[in-house]
């Protein structure tokens, strides 16, 4: 299990790095999908099979497909790839890189200082437990999430409508 975890983690980081550096949108999205699948594996090894399954179904299966769909709709050809390459000059990376390094150092400190989690049971938390929690103490949050999704639906519909300009 531990081996799988670290393997998946390495794949996830590598694929993510590739995803944000590609110039071809579809390639980047494929790397992103790989990264998400690897994260799903990580989730599985963390004892969250439900989250892992949803990660695949919704992230890899729906969200990224939606991205691909949009990229294909806009299908801009090789000109954009050249432009992307022009955008990504090495100097662009300096400030974000430094900023991120600082943040990373800080985050590592935070994580390192976290007190040891008391008695973490090693067994997986299945969909039933999640469901009980969802529709028990988190019922209001579920309602809010559904409202959010409805708002997203309406918003996307409204924005996507082609009105006469």
């Amino acid at each position: 299990m531990t081996v799988i975890f670290y393997l998946s983690a390495i794949i996830a980081v590598a694929a993510t790095f590739l995803a944000i550096t590609r110039t071809n949108a579809v390639h980047a999205l494929l790397y992103l999908a790989v990264s998400l699948l690897a994260v799903a594996m990580v989730l599985f090894t963390l004892g969250a099979p439900f989250a892992a399954a949803l990660e695949i179904v919704i992230y890899a299966g729906a969200i990224v497909v939606l991205f691909v769909f949009v990229v294909m709709m806009l299908n801009q050809g090789t000109a954009t790839i050249r432009r992307e390459r022009a955008y990504l000059t090495p100097s662009m990376w300096i400030v974000p890189g430094l900023l991120t390094l600082v943040l990373f150092a800080e985050l590592v400190c935070v994580v390192a200082w976290v007190p040891e989690a008391a008695g973490a049971p090693a067994e997986a938390i299945g969909p039933k437990a999640v469901g009980m929690a969802l529709f028990g103490p988190y019922a209001i949050a579920v309602e809010m999430a559904s409202l959010l999704l409805l708002a997203g639906l309406i918003g996307a519909f409204h924005l996507g409508r082609r009105d006469e300009e």
Partner: protein
């Protein structure tokens, strides 16, 4: 099943999050920005699940679910905006959409 050290899982989440952040900061193409945002959101969810797993509670996965639904809503509106942007500016360069600058 040997438990994974939660710090390592959280550290993975941090790395992924920061990679996404770099993506947001570096890329100019709106689609890549959105992608990077998705990476960041996903990393947050991973951190929640890792914390939940560390404490043996389902709450982490519950939060992951909410993050998931938020990401879905975000991406649907975001991509619709990208389409609108493309039809308005004929480019996906986020810097082109700066007509509201001060």
């Amino acid at each position: 099943m040997t438990p994974i050290a939660p710090e390592h899982a959280v550290a993975l989440a941090a790395v992924l999050f920061l990679l996404g952040l770099i993506g947001v900061l570096v890329r100019r193409n709106a689609i890549f920005v959105l992608m990077s945002l998705e990476i960041m959101i996903n990393a947050t969810g991973l951190a929640f699940v890792a914390a939940g797993a560390a404490w043996g509670q389902p709450d982490g996965q519950v939060m992951f679910l909410f993050i998931l639904s938020m990401a879905a809503a975000e991406v649907s509106v975001g991509l619709a905006l990208v389409l609108r942007m493309y039809s308005r500016f004929k480019t996906l360069d986020t810097d082109a959409a700066d007509t509201m600058r001060g």
